[in-house]
């Protein structure tokens, strides 16, 4: 049984795991870099080890220092969280070698699912659909056309040898094929010195829908339904929800079964996620294996909200060798949950990550609301790590109810001192396409610019009134002292342009 667990992470996920430890009667050991001594996870844990300087490579990513910390504190288990070393098979193996229980899958499962092509082969062998595609052995026009007929239209021609869009062509009908193939081959040959083409089905506007799974040490695997994660900006998820309105009960069941088969193919245990692309809606929708994330996900609270399962607690129980307490039919999905990721970033400046001190931070509260935060008022947001600050999860009986709840909460969630995407999220949650749930993975990249806007003039004027009313260091009514011989000059007016040291 795990008695003392080292959390090899920081931020909101470390806080989440430490809380689960406390509930389970497990002592928690936090690790922190020199930049994080006052961070919530470091403050909250029962024990704390400072593992190195601020850069992650010298602290949170240093396997040797983490194992030393575990040894020094007498920890018997390690939870990697997400990111950092969570999907590093060498870390899982090093923990096992050091006699520590790794709260996660085996190093072997991490490694086998870590390779994109390897994972695709495993999925295919397990009867899980993958995006149809092939590199035809016969690269003649006739051979390519035959492969195209097999894959189906619309399709994508890609250079087998490389990426970056070179030699890539979308072909919508058979009539366009020969000309597109000729152009793609010439581009591929000049870019990579190899004109070999790969033919793949083109998914016009796919959704990203993933299935949560849990496996135990006894070969049992269950799924905990789906999460709709199509709202992404440059492949970074922003809003996730469950259930996904675009899939039918039949498709949900088939995706769940496929996810369980993929997990079983690698002897998966602990919490994991199978990501799929879904093409189309309703009964005609098809799904294709994308990849497996062999860890707890950022968006796991969405699943917790609709299934009632505590995924971190389940990971502890699984790591302790206990069998899963449910069979598949015992698991149900109820209501609707939506997660908003609050990032330290400035949408008005191209979403550049922000750092600085959180001068004011007040969490909203209320029924159906969960806030997983990695910051507190007064905390410093360091420049060294992921800009995810807080997750706001709203749950209600219906999707509309959950969205309304999230919007109301964001309108009363002041975070000042560091720019965040809260105003952006509020606009996103009111976008007609989002409200209609007619979204795909390209939605946010197409619409992001329209969701970045300055506040309405009326709001700005109100803010000016509030700013002027805040007591404190208002400049003296008549400016700095003008008499005497030692006036202190306003330093800002003497400053030149900021520049980086040479």
């Amino acid at each position: 049984m795990i008695a003392r667990l080292l959390v090899a992470n920081r931020g909101e996920i470390a806080v989440r795991i430490i809380r689960a430890c406390r509930e389970a009667g497990i002592e928690s050991v936090a690790v922190c870099s020199e930049a994080d001594e006052g961070a919530p996870h470091a403050v909250l844990a029962d024990h704390l080890v400072m593992i190195g300087p601020a850069p992650a490579a010298e602290s949170y990513l240093d396997i040797g220092r983490l194992l030393d910390a575990a040894r020094a504190t007498g920890a018997d288990a390690v939870h990697p969280g997400y990111g950092f070393l969570s999907e590093n098979p060498a870390f899982a193996a090093a923990c096992a070698d050091a006699g520590l229980t790794f709260v996660g899958p085996t190093a072997d499962a991490i490694e086998r699912m870590g390779s994109k092509t390897g994972a695709r082969r495993i999925a295919e062998a397990a009867g899980v659909p993958v995006v149809p595609g092939a590199t035809p052995a016969d690269q003649s026009p006739a051979g390519l056309r035959a492969a195209a007929e097999h894959v189906g239209y619309p399709l994508l021609l890609k250079a087998s040898a490389g990426g970056g869009g070179k030699g890539m062509r979308v072909v919508r009908t058979a009539g366009e094929f020969d000309e597109a193939a000729g152009a793609a081959r010439r581009e591929a040959a000049s870019a990579f010195g190899d004109g070999t083409l790969y033919v793949e089905r083109y998914l016009e506007r796919p959704r990203h829908v993933e299935i949560q799974v849990l496996g135990d040490h006894h070969g049992a695997v269950v799924h905990l339904f789906e999460r709709e994660c199509s709202v992404q900006r440059r492949h970074q998820k922003v809003v996730e929800e469950s259930p996904c309105l675009a899939i039918t009960a039949g498709l949900r069941a088939r995706m769940g079964e496929a996810a369980v088969r993929a997990a079983q193919a690698v002897g998966y245990r602990s919490a994991g996620t199978i990501e799929f692309l879904v093409d189309g809606t309703g009964e005609d929708a098809r799904f294709y294996f994308l990849e497996m994330n062999t860890r707890l996900q950022v968006e796991h609270p969405v699943t917790e909200a609709v299934t009632g399962v505590d995924l971190v607690r389940a990971q502890f129980d699984i790591a302790n060798g206990q069998p899963l307490p449910w069979t598949q039919p015992a698991l149900t999905q109820r209501g609707h949950a939506i997660e908003c990721r609050i990032y330290a970033e400035d949408p008005a400046q191209g979403f550049v990550p922000q750092a600085g001190r959180v001068l004011l931070y007040r969490e909203p509260t209320g029924p159906g609301l969960r806030i997983d935060a990695g910051i507190v008022e007064g905390a410093e947001v360091p420049v060294h790590y992921d800009p995810l600050l807080v997750k706001l999860i709203a749950a209600a009986e219906t999707r509309t109810g959950a969205i309304e709840r999230a919007r109301a909460a964001l309108r009363q969630f002041p975070i000042l001192g560091v720019r965040t995407n809260v105003p952006f999220l509020l606009r996103l949650l009111s976008h007609p396409a989002f409200l209609a749930a007619t979204i795909d993975t390209g939605f946010l990249d197409r619409e992001a610019a329209n969701l970045v806007a300055p506040p309405a003039p009326a709001t700005t004027h109100l803010a000016l009134a509030v700013a002027a009313s805040l007591a404190g260091a208002v400049p003296a009514p008549f400016g700095p002292a003008t008499t005497g011989t030692a006036a202190v000059h306003d330093p800002w007016s003497a400053l030149g342009d900021w520049s980086r040291p040479a």
């Binding site: 000042l416 720019r419 105003p423 003039p457 509030v466 805040l470 260091a473 000059h489």
Partner: protein
């Protein structure tokens, strides 16, 4: 209760004259506008929190100081506001006497670039500071002669502490 004052407040492209009255009424007149906006009534609730009463509608707002700026949160929006003294411009014209220049924030002195007695011209860098991994030159606000230096290379300096005293040209 807030102290009555009149200030100019700016946020992005918006600027306004803000009249904070003693009774909690705040009157905003946008720059270039001949008329005031309908008054807002603000009650300070403590810890950066305000109750806002505005044309029969009410909400909460939050505000906090950040050096010479204020962050305001109202109705899901964040506004960063600069305040200037109202009424008359802040006197920045050259004055007779000496002028003391200090760092705007805790900083490290990378290099002192001038020495006492040296004549300097407006805009000339006097001291090179480093803060937040950025270098910034402290420049002469006007022509003058360096009277004294209050720091040395490598010093960690605090805001408000004079680093260079510059004689001011006679008016």
């Amino acid at each position: 209760m807030t102290t009555p004052r009149i200030v100019t407040a700016r946020a992005g492209d918006h600027a306004a004259r803000v009249d904070v009255r003693g009774d909690g009424q705040v009157v905003v007149r946008p720059e270039g506008s001949p008329t005031d906006l309908p008054p807002v009534r603000l009650t300070y609730l403590g810890h950066g929190r305000f109750r806002v009463w505005h044309e029969g509608w009410t909400t909460l707002a939050y505000a906090v100081e950040d050096d010479d700026r204020r962050w305001v949160f109202v109705d899901g929006e964040v506004v960063l506001v600069d305040l200037e003294t109202g009424g008359r411009p802040r006197p920045r014209a050259a004055r007779a006497g000496t002028d003391a220049l200090s760092a705007p924030m805790p900083a490290t002195v990378v290099r002192v670039l001038v020495s006492p007695g040296q004549a300097v011209t407006r805009g000339m860098p006097l001291v090179l500071l480093e803060a937040m991994k950025m270098e910034l030159p402290l420049r002469a606000p006007h022509d003058g002669v360096v009277e004294s230096i209050g720091c040395a290379d490598g010093d960690l300096v605090q805001p408000g502490v004079p680093l260079v005293r510059l004689t001011m040209p006679a008016a």
